[in-house]
């Protein structure tokens, strides 16, 4: 049971972290705003199911689109403004904007839909080995999304451009890769992954304005743990952190459940300063 719930929580961490990781390794932006795209996508999914009555997979797709569009727009209209600037603090301005966006969307959700949690109706009944199908689906969907992202990055042309850009942006530009397009793709992808994670877990938990805080926090750790630019590293570390937390809370102390990440992080970084699977 601990293993099961740890894996599911871990899938959520891994999904959010994957988007963050790709964005971070290419654009150097720790995109805090992903935490709020997560929230808005969950609301989008919730309203799609309750108001429009669409089936769950459609809601999932819609959540992914909402996340993708939001992330894409933020990159296109905000972050991009400061990319070409050569002043020293450009990266910090982007960070500041990311923090501001996180505040903005999470608080806007609070102002519009109030802080009252919304319950996402269950879309499936039944369970297997003590775990409901809805839980298992989160895990399965995460795996599928990871494989898709992996194939996309490894086998397609835009994927190759992304890989090139993550190694050396300057060199990629010399080789004729349009860095604007790459950025748009990775942000849209990151937003879609956050949105997917949000809609997938919403039926298990609920939808509320501060729901993005914890996944964001943990995804940041997973990014660092996994190392920049490693898809499989993110998956393994995300799942690993989820399981470690579940067991830590059971056998050590539940009060520090969300503090274990810190110890795991410190230990790992002291032993391997570039993360477990980092290339860069």
């Amino acid at each position: 049971m601990q293993l099961g719930s740890g894996l599911i929580i871990g899938s959520v961490y891994a999904l959010v972290a994957l988007g963050l990781n790709i964005i971070w390794s290419i654009t150097d932006i720790p995109d805090f705003a992903q935490g709020s795209f997560y929230v808005i996508a969950a609301y989008a999914g919730y309203f799609a199911v309750t108001l429009a009555g669409v089936p769950f997979p459609v809601a999932l797709l819609l959540g992914m689109c909402v996340g993708a569009i939001m992330a894409f727009s933020c990159e296109r209209f905000l972050y991009r403004r400061w990319r070409e600037r050569t002043f020293r603090a450009a990266a910090r301005v982007q960070l500041l904007v990311a923090i501001a966006l996180f505040f903005l969307f999470a608080n806007a959700a609070n102002a519009i839909w109030t802080s009252k949690a919304k319950i996402f109706p269950a879309y499936m009944k039944g369970s297997l080995l003590g775990l409901s199908y809805m839980r298992i689906n989160v895990f399965l969907a995460a795996i599928v999304l990871f494989i898709l992202v992996y194939l996309f990055i490894m086998k397609t042309k835009p994927g190759k451009a992304i890989r090139a850009a993550s190694m050396d942006v300057g060199m990629a530009q010399v080789l004729g890769i349009n860095i604007d397009t790459v950025n748009s793709i990775v942000f849209a992808m990151g937003g879609a992954l956050s949105g997917a994670a949000a809609v997938l877990v919403s039926p298990l938990y609920s939808v509320f304005p501060t729901m993005g805080d914890l996944p964001l926090l943990k995804a940041l750790v997973v990014v660092i743990l996994g190392g920049f630019g490693s898809v499989s590293g993110v998956l393994i570390c995300g799942l690993g952190l989820g399981v470690a937390e579940a067991f830590g809370a059971t056998y050590i102390s539940s009060a520090y459940q969300h503090g274990f990440a810190f110890f795991v992080l410190i230990l790992t970084l002291l032993l391997r300063p570039k993360g477990l699977f980092g290339r860069v």
């Binding site: 608080n107 609070n110 949690a117 409901s132 509320f208 914890l214 539940s254």
Partner: protein, 379 residues
């Protein structure tokens, strides 16, 4: 320079908007009352519900007007966000007292904030009334100018525990508690009382607000085979715990008893009637008039919540005190509040000094059970 002008323009416009919104209206006969509550952050739902209750009371009161010295006044509420942090709560109260010159202050909802603003009410000599702070030390030893209607956690535990022991005859108890002043205070008070009846606490777990996955805790409780499980916290997490407890079969053996919020209609809208079915909750209010519940439903499209009732009663208490004092002097209003005695929605409002408490009402909490999505009070 061109950009700079734009900045200045933006700042000027902002400043004008701010000033415009801050300037009081021209209505002369207005009594200002302050309200500090969390409207953002993870405790925002309390502020939202409290504000609903206050709005309902405000509409009733302003329809008739408050008659002081033969003149008719209306009440205006100044409300500020405390985000549930003491530093912001103190800033609110200082602003209400010094800038807005309010005659009374409603709030806050979080005990850590109430503890900080109680002494300030004494300092400014403005009566304050907490909406739902539950920690003992808010009114024990208390402050001359700070009032509380609901029973504190230390008052609730000895009243409710014998009923629970008699009904369920438990041997062991588990606690799943939100990690804040309210959760920890009520849990330790109940655990102490249970200990007197020889009921052992086998699991004692705390969680943070905003947590969504409780499977780890529930596994521990299932393994410990506890007879009763106290969930002390609020509905959003409570609803998830109910659903997950059903999912993992914890409720088959263990009786789940929730704290006040778990007896609110909101729980059913969050968890659904099936998940809540058969569980119990401690409740501070028995039943409200049907037309009141309807008004809440019509006006806000929201289920009944105790913070609505508390907020509604709090403003009525202050309005009554102003009318009976026949004065807008905060000290006289405070004196009138001490003499108030009437039957409000939540129970009998009479502020008393007893057992080290000061300006504290006493009413007895009851136990309710969920059946088919309805709260059924147990005798």
């Amino acid at each position: 320079m061109k950009h700079f002008r734009k900045v200045m323009l933006v700042i000027t416009v902002m400043a004008m908007v701010l000033l415009g919104l801050n300037t009081p209206g021209f209505a002369a006969k207005v009594i200002k009352i302050g309200y500090t509550a969390p409207f953002t952050g993870s405790a925002a739902e309390f502020g939202v519900n409290g504000w609903r209750g206050i709005q309902l009371a405000l509409e009733e009161i302003n329809k008739k007007g408050v008659i002081v010295g033969g003149k008719k006044y209306t009440i205006e509420i100044k409300r500020y966000d405390s985000i549930c942090t003491p530093t912001d709560g103190v800033a609110n109260v200082r602003k209400l007292a010094m800038q807005d010159r309010v005659v009374a202050i409603l709030g806050d909802h979080c005990s850590s904030v109430c503890v900080a603003i109680g002494p300030l009410c004494d300092q400014f000599k403005i009566p304050g009334i907490t909406i739902e702070c539950a920690a003992d030390k808010v009114t024990k030893p208390g402050h001359e100018f700070y009032f509380r209607m609901r029973p504190s956690v230390g008052l609730m535990a000895p009243l409710i525990t014998p009923t629970i022991v008699e009904k369920f005859k438990p041997k062991s108890a588990a606690f799943l508690v939100v990690n804040d002043d309210y959760g920890l205070g009520l849990a330790s008070a109940i655990a102490t009382e249970l200990d007197k009846f020889g009921v052992k606490t086998v699991v004692d777990e705390t969680f943070e607000r905003g947590n969504t996955d409780f499977t780890v805790y529930l596994a521990k409780i299932k393994k410990a085979k506890a007879d009763i499980l106290f969930y002390i916290g609020v509905t959003p997490e409570g609803a998830m715990i109910l659903k997950q407890a059903k999912e993992f079969g914890v409720t088959e053996r263990t009786v789940l008893i929730g704290s006040e919020e778990m007896g609110e209609m909101e729980l059913v809208s969050l968890a659904g009637p099936e998940a809540a079915e058969g569980t119990y909750a401690v409740s501070l209010w028995g039943a409200v008039p049907a037309d009141f519940a309807e008004r809440v439903e019509d006006r806000f499209d929201a289920p009944m919540h105790y913070a609505i009732i508390f907020g509604y009663d709090a403003l009525h208490v202050v309005a009554r005190a102003i009318e009976s004092a026949q004065s807008l002097d905060p000290v006289k209003i405070k004196d009138a509040m001490k003499k108030i005695d009437y039957e409000a929605l939540e129970g009998r409002i009479k502020f008393e000094n007893f057992e080290g408490y000061r300006n504290q009402c006493r009413f007895v909490p009851s136990l309710i059970q969920w059946k088919d999505g309805e709260r059924v009070p147990l005798k």
